[in-house]
């Protein structure tokens, strides 16, 4: 049972880290919004799904790649990949702002209960996924292969593939940039102020609506980037793909301590590795169960997550 894990330890680890970085970016979408609003951004999974479609539309319809065409090389490759990434981020960012505007803003202005907002967010996430289902006829959409999956080198018996390397480095870079933005920029400071104390931040002249919209945008951009990496590695998407990803990324956010950006980083990586190891040991069908059991255990023994602040009692 464990021999698989031992035999393929390094290749599993690399796959886990790549998956983990995708989780890191998606869970940023949850964790940032939670930090500011203390509310689960329920539509984030659909924002991710729209991002994956943005990626595919770019390579397929704008650059005219098909399933049979040869992978790009050189400057063309960089051009296509970067525009895919930007498109995915743009689509997801716009969707995130749309979600905030339609599902959250009016209810927030009224100061209504949290459940109403949750239901309205659920409503908008149904709308987003159903819209995509109608547009794609419920069919899965494959992505043309732009980045050839060359095996770069072999380390300790594990193949290092180009797409995993790109994913790991680019995702780490994007995470780093976003983290710097929240840490250093004026807007990032405002975001952190609101998440610490909304009323005090307002009194200090922070424009609450703008901060919240920016938070959704930043979360959406991260999630969109994750959509691009997901397509690069798995080359496939469907209208209901957001659900599994959303659950896993949310779990990752909670594992790290929701509302905490660094928590999302460690939570995402931890969860990515855990999922890959667990499916190697127990079989793929049990990986979600393992993830949830770990989540329940963490919540029981360390309810604030691994790096979280104490929110579970103050916000009942």
């Amino acid at each position: 049972m464990f021999s698989v894990l031992i035999d393929q330890f390094w290749s599993l680890t690399i796959a886990g880290v790549a998956l983990g970085f995708i989780y890191v970016l998606v869970s940023l979408g949850y964790t940032m919004v939670y930090g500011v609003l203390r509310m689960i951004n329920f539509a984030n999974s659909e924002i991710f799904m729209w991002g994956t479609f943005g990626t595919i539309v770019t390579s397929r319809d704008i650059f005219g790649y098909t399933q049979t065409s040869a992978p790009a090389t050189g400057g063309k490759l960089a051009l296509v990949l970067i525009s895919q990434l930007l498109m995915s981020m743009a689509v997801a960012g716009v969707t995130a702002i749309f979600v905030e505007y339609v599902a959250y803003r009016r209810l927030r202005a009224k100061g209504t209960n949290r459940l109403a907002t949750l239901i309205s967010a659920i409503g908008i996430s149904i709308v987003l996924s159903e819209l995509m289902r109608l547009l794609t006829d419920s069919r899965p959409v494959g992505s043309p292969r732009v980045l050839e999956k060359i095996i770069l080198t072999e380390v300790w018996g594990a193949n290092i593939r180009l797409d995993t390397v790109v994913t790991i480095f680019a995702a780490a870079l994007i995470y780093f940039l976003l983290e710097r933005f929240v840490k250093l920029s004026r807007m990032g400071k405002a975001i952190r102020a609101v998440s610490m104390n909304e009323d005090a931040a307002k009194l200090m002249g922070v424009n609450l609506n703008r901060v919240i919209t920016t938070t959704f945008l930043v979360g959406g951009l991260a999630t969109g980037a994750a959509g691009f990496f997901y397509i690069t590695v798995f080359e496939y998407t469907k209208f209901n793909i957001g659900f599994t990803m959303g659950m896993a990324a949310f779990t990752a956010a909670v594992l790290g301590g929701i509302g905490n950006i660094r928590g999302a980083f460690f939570g995402g990586l931890f969860l990515g590795l855990l999922e890959v190891y667990a499916s190697a040991v127990l079989g793929t069908q049990w990986k979600a169960v393992t993830v949830f059991i770990v989540l329940v255990l963490v919540l029981l023994f360390k309810p604030n997550g691994l790096f979280g602040e104490a929110v579970q009692t103050t916000r009942a």
Partner: protein, 345 residues
């Protein structure tokens, strides 16, 4: 907000009820029961659902949704705990019926208490460790529990995995009244009886010690604990009673549907039931019933736009929540005021 105050259905209904004498109240109740009981004969009218048979729609989704929403309302509405894994109890009830019904000679009514017991045991087992958590964290753990139950039945051999269990027996007939697939009136009346029983149970509990304890927990858990309310105990009770209703609904559903598979018990069902509760008005039995009726019935009524019906459903959720965030028929103002103050603190 002021403009809409004249359209206050809840206070209007309450004033009629409160001014009526005992015979009048009995009459109101009997007439309403009769009217609802006659619903299956209304299939030919404007209420008809284009594709599914009207009788069938009244049983599932409408009747089942009302039943489950009432059960979930004990947890979410009465004691203020967000449960996103309610479908787990529904699934436990349904699988108990499916497995016992196909392997033993027990009939639906004999399995019903067993299914309810299993759901309650699951409720206690989940409740004891998790009900110490609050708010969103509880929501996540329950959500995870719902998924675990689905994944376990999906990947186990005793539950026949993704193939599901077929040939589940129908309930035995009551004298001349027979349960049949083509004509589901009898199922509707059974669901109705279960709904009435649940309403009765909730109303009795609400005015007694558990109801007061739940109310105190919902408003301020710490204060309730300081006042000597055994919060964990009453939270587990509320959770378990909700689970019992879900389990009962599951048993009947399996027996009605004759076939169940794991894909019927996804997170979407939990979310839909929660949507029914919030949409109608959290904590108010009548609001919940109206919400569940509308949300159960609407997708089938608008089947003529077949493909886009879920899209419209999502839009309705967003629009109604934006304009009536406390639900269509919210609970009484006094209680609401207290909740709001608590929520903003």
């Amino acid at each position: 907000m002021k403009i809409r105050n004249y359209w206050n259905l809840r206070d209007f209904g309450a004033s009629i009820w409160e001014n009526a004498g005992r015979p009048m109240r009995v009459a109101i109740v009997l007439i309403s029961i009769l009217l609802v009981g006659l619903l299956p004969f209304m299939g030919g009218s404007f209420l008809a659902t284009p594709i599914a048979s009207f009788d069938a729609v009244l049983v599932y989704p409408v009747g089942m949704f009302v039943l489950m929403s009432l059960g979930l309302n004990i947890v979410v509405g009465k004691s203020g705990m967000l449960d996103l894994g309610y479908v787990a109890f529904f699934a436990i009830g349904a699988y108990t019926m499916a497995i016992l019904g196909t392997t033993t000679k027990l009939n639906t009514w004999e399995i019903m208490p067993i299914g309810i017991a299993f759901a309650m045991i699951a409720g206690v087992l989940l409740g004891i460790p998790t009900l110490r958590l609050r708010g969103d964290y509880l929501a996540i753990v329950t959500l995870g529990f719902g998924e675990i139950v689905r994944l376990v039945v999906l990947n186990s051999t005793w539950s026949k995995g993704p193939n599901g269990i077929a040939n589940i027996p129908m309930p035995p007939h009551f004298g001349p009244l027979k349960f049949e697939l083509e004509n589901q009136r009898l199922f509707f009346w059974v669901v109705m009886a279960m709904i009435l029983l649940t309403i009765w149970m909730i109303r009795r509990l609400t005015v007694r010690r558990p109801g007061r304890a739940w109310e105190a927990i919902r408003q301020d858990e710490d204060a309730a604990e300081l006042m000597g309310v055994h919060t964990l105990k009453y939270k587990i009770w509320s959770f378990t009673l909700g689970a019992a209703v879900g389990g009962a609904a599951g048993v009947l559903y399996a027996s009605k549907n004759l076939y169940i598979a794991p894909e019927m018990f996804t997170l979407n069902v939990s979310i839909l039931i929660l949507a029914c509760v919030v949409f109608g008005g959290i904590g108010n039995i009548w609001g919940v019933i109206i919400g569940a009726t509308i949300l159960g019935y609407l997708p089938d009524r608008i089947r003529f736009i077949s493909d886009a019906r879920l899209l419209v459903f999502g839009l309705v959720l967003v629009i109604v929540m934006n304009f009536r965030p406390d639900g269509l028929l919210p609970r009484k103002k006094r209680e609401k005021a207290i909740v709001k103050k608590g929520a903003n603190a």
